[in-house]
Symmetry: C2
Subunit: 506 residues, 2 copies
């Protein structure tokens, strides 16, 4: 990815982009630190520091000199194939530039500062079950989210610019249509499972010590291919993956000592995100190409590794003896089958991140619909907890006993926009199945290999077809390119019916 | 520290300074992370990221608009008393500005990048005893250090601008004069001690597990007054204190399982630095006033807490029962007297940070003289290990068996300038005794309180007289103000003769 002529405008563009990337990476480190090790006294200044860096990065990216360079590079770009590295760099940079110039840098700083404040308020309010304490922050988040959307006039739905930002090419209408199809298929499956005897998952709810869980999950992800030379894992309140360079891609996790699922699967989930980022071409370092291409594609990788691999029977045929060896007292008497059924127990539950693969998307749809209602002004922030509980009642037949396990459970609205953040989870689930089908078509031996603890062919196929490209292709392009079809709910439904049909005899 | 008029130029100055402070704080976090948690793969980008931020901070600080604001504020400044907060802010900012405008921002970036590279090279070369691997980095450090000095023409000695930067008001000549006096007093003391029987310190060199050492030292510094709400401790290769805001002042430590001294006293040492920073007026947040006033004064606080408190008999009369309770197997049979003599064992040793209070300054003088010789061009980098060993032979009668324990032991030359970095340690030792005498004069009850584990009166006195002022007063001013005398070697010599005269009967 090297143009040798040092005076070529693309070199000047690269230099500027690297500087911006460095500032953004530092801002990411400020966030990682806030969410892992920062003492409480650091919070006030930290919000201001992140806002300052975001403001500088924004100002530098929207410098008219970058606009001019992008103009100067049009001819060069069109002389190259669409997916040449440099053509892609110019195209993706222009996409970002055209979006960012519509947003004033001061707005970015204000939003960043507000997000940091809201995050701190949420971190305190959640264990205290105190929605009232975060409500004023949410009000402001909503106002800022609307303001953000309105920098992109001409939308059909006010959520469209926010959705487009994380899942380029999608909008409220197309997501709604996809979700409606999916719901129609899922609801009868959930009902069919509900009529079956309740799965016994008590084996997973014994006492598992935190250090032993952490040690075991590190061992697992090393085997999956997470590169610890270029990453590490730390503990946090709400797990996330973050990246400071292609050489430093970190994950975070949280552990509950009375629930083996929590730490193990959140670790594998974040590892999926990290494998994606670690797999991006190293040549893309410090450019806008060095990132996942959309929220949905990113989530497809976390969910593929967490579920299609990590919750598969094949995987546990390999891994269960290791787990039993790590926790002999708890698991010596528990059969693989009991364990496998336990980790795939389907139930109408409260917490999205703990939800099984069948009901998970219903959790997402609740949040997506509520986001849209908030943005549309049809739902007031003060009425959000009640609306949340109503939807849990109607969609999942269960009411949260507290906001801690209800509307306060997810960090997203308290650390980012309202709108555009939840659809990616379900898009990711759909894509994960579609990509996995394509991988199996190319390499039918993958399931057998997983059973033997060999993840290399799958990992290489994903790197080759998805990871290495970073943001070179859009989500829609990559889905088409890899699966030869547009995104559809069919592979996911096939997968769910196959796996859970066997588990629950329907 | 609030001027109410929002349009007053000092508000504009504050806004600009806060932005610069935020960028510098982020750069400090990048360094902290590099030295604590960063995976090896992150190193390459990290150096570039730090350089980018330092470059931006430098550029923003030397913006002519800041020069203009400082001009516009001259009249306002002279309307205020010298030590009014705002007058001090303007004066100290001008001092920094006048210095920084002489250095091109690109030089700062180049130096920062080089320091990061040199640090990585050193971290690898030190355990491998590979001076050759760092020699080219040192060559460049030397060249850059000379270049830095030459931005300040008119000096008497090339080290002067570098010394002045860390210890404002000092220069090679004044440091040399002070060191010569000190050496004259110290050498006979070292000789007198050398004629005495060797102290038995074997009790300190049993096996002490790392987690237990860490837990104990955290307990100790909590009692000393380190505020964990505004700080934390992590492990590193070469301990340091760093600050991201007045609400987030962190320390780092390293532990050796066969040496109780190492972890415990490096923790107390860094805590001394942190107490200083945690004690600065919160109003100074995000301004140049929010920092220690000089390398020497900073070191006076680390050494005061490490030595005058932490290695005193009074302290261990209080603390030794706790230590015995934490390590009963190792220490139940060891008397307080044996322990106290052990931690104060004087010997001609290899490692500066492990050195006793009597010989410590001889280690510093070796480094100081070598720095000067390198800068003067009288010593070549390739000859540095031999020169180092010669000086250890002549000054301490001992030759390092390897460069790991010789010229590679200290991080400073590998992560900063050659010149201006070591004199502060001895200046700090001198000041620590001078400040402590003044504290005892004001509060003769302090030794008795320390014996009871009560550090509040001492801590409050230091906050009141030194810490709160941050950079408001220069080192010379604060020494005069607090001790009513200029800096002198007498209090230190009195302290050493008193304490070690008793221990070694001279």
């Amino acid at each position: 990815m090297q143009t040798l002529d040092k005076t070529h405008p693309i070199q000047e563009l690269r230099t500027r982009l690297a500087e911006i990337n460095d500032i953004e990476s530092a801002a990411s480190l400020l966030y990682w630190d806030q969410a892992t090790y920062m003492p409480p006294g650091g919070a006030a200044a930290r919000g201001r520091q992140m806002a300052t860096l975001r403001h500088i990065a924004h100002t530098k990216f929207t410098d008219p000199a970058i606009g001019q360079l992008l103009e100067d590079l049009r001819e060069y770009e069109s002389s190259l194939p669409y997916d040449a590295d440099e053509a892609s760099l110019i195209r993706v940079t222009r996409l970002d530039y055209d979006r960012l110039v519509k947003i004033p840098p001061a707005f970015t700083a204000k939003f960043s500062q507000h997000s940091a404040d809201a995050y701190e308020a949420w971190a305190k309010a959640r264990p205290e079950n105190n929605f009232a304490a975060v409500a004023p922050y949410l009000e402001k988040t909503l106002e800022l989210s609307r303001e953000m959307a309105n920098f992109f006039p001409g939308y059909q739905h006010i959520a469209d610019p926010l959705i487009d930002e994380s899942d380029y090419g999608m909008n409220a209408e197309s997501v709604r249509a996809l979700f409606a199809q999916l719901r129609q298929q899922l609801v009868p499956i959930v009902d069919a499972i509900a009529s079956q005897p309740i799965t016994d998952a008590t084996a997973l709810h014994q006492h598992y010590s935190e250090p032993e869980q952490l040690a075991f999950s590190l061992e697992v992800i090393k085997q999956l291919g997470y590169d610890f030379h270029r990453g590490r894992q730390d503990q946090t309140l709400h797990p996330f993956m973050t990246k400071f360079s292609t050489g430093d891609v970190r994950i975070t996790t949280r552990v509950r000592e009375n629930d083996l699922n929590e730490g193990l699967f959140s670790t594998i989930h974040e590892t999926g995100h990290a494998l994606y980022e670690q797999g991006i071409a190293r040549d893309f370092e410090a450019t806008p190409l060095a990132g996942g291409t959309s929220s949905g594609v990113h989530e497809s990788q976390s969910r593929l590794w967490e579920n299609l691999v990590g919750r598969s029977r094949n995987f546990w045929e390999f891994c269960y003896p290791q787990l039993q060896a790590a926790f002999p007292q708890q698991l010596k008497q528990v059969s693989l089958d009991t364990f496998y059924r336990g980790i795939n127990k389907v139930e109408r539950s409260l917490i999205r991140t703990d939800a099984d693969e069948v009901t998970y998307n219903l959790h997402v749809m609740i949040r997506f619909d509520l986001e849209l209602a908030l943005l549309e002004g049809k739902l007031a922030v003060k009425d959000l907890p009640a609306a949340w509980n109503d939807r849990y009642q109607s969609d999942l037949g269960i009411v949260p006993p507290s906001d801690t396990n209800g509307v306060l459970q997810d960090v997203h609205w308290y650390g980012g926009t309202i709108g555009g953040v939840f659809q990616g989870y379900t898009l990711g689930n759909l894509m994960s199945a579609q990509f996995f089908e394509a991988a199996l078509q190319a390499h039918p031996e993958i399931p057998q290999q997983i059973r033997q603890g060999n993840f290399k062919v799958l990992h290489d196929w994903l790197k080759q077809n998805i990871y290495q490209h970073g943001r070179k292709y859009t989500a829609a392009e990559i889905v088409e390119k890899v699966t030869l079809q547009p995104l559809s709910i069919e592979p996911f439904i096939r997968y769910i019916k196959g796996k859970f049909g066997e588990l629950y005899n329907f």
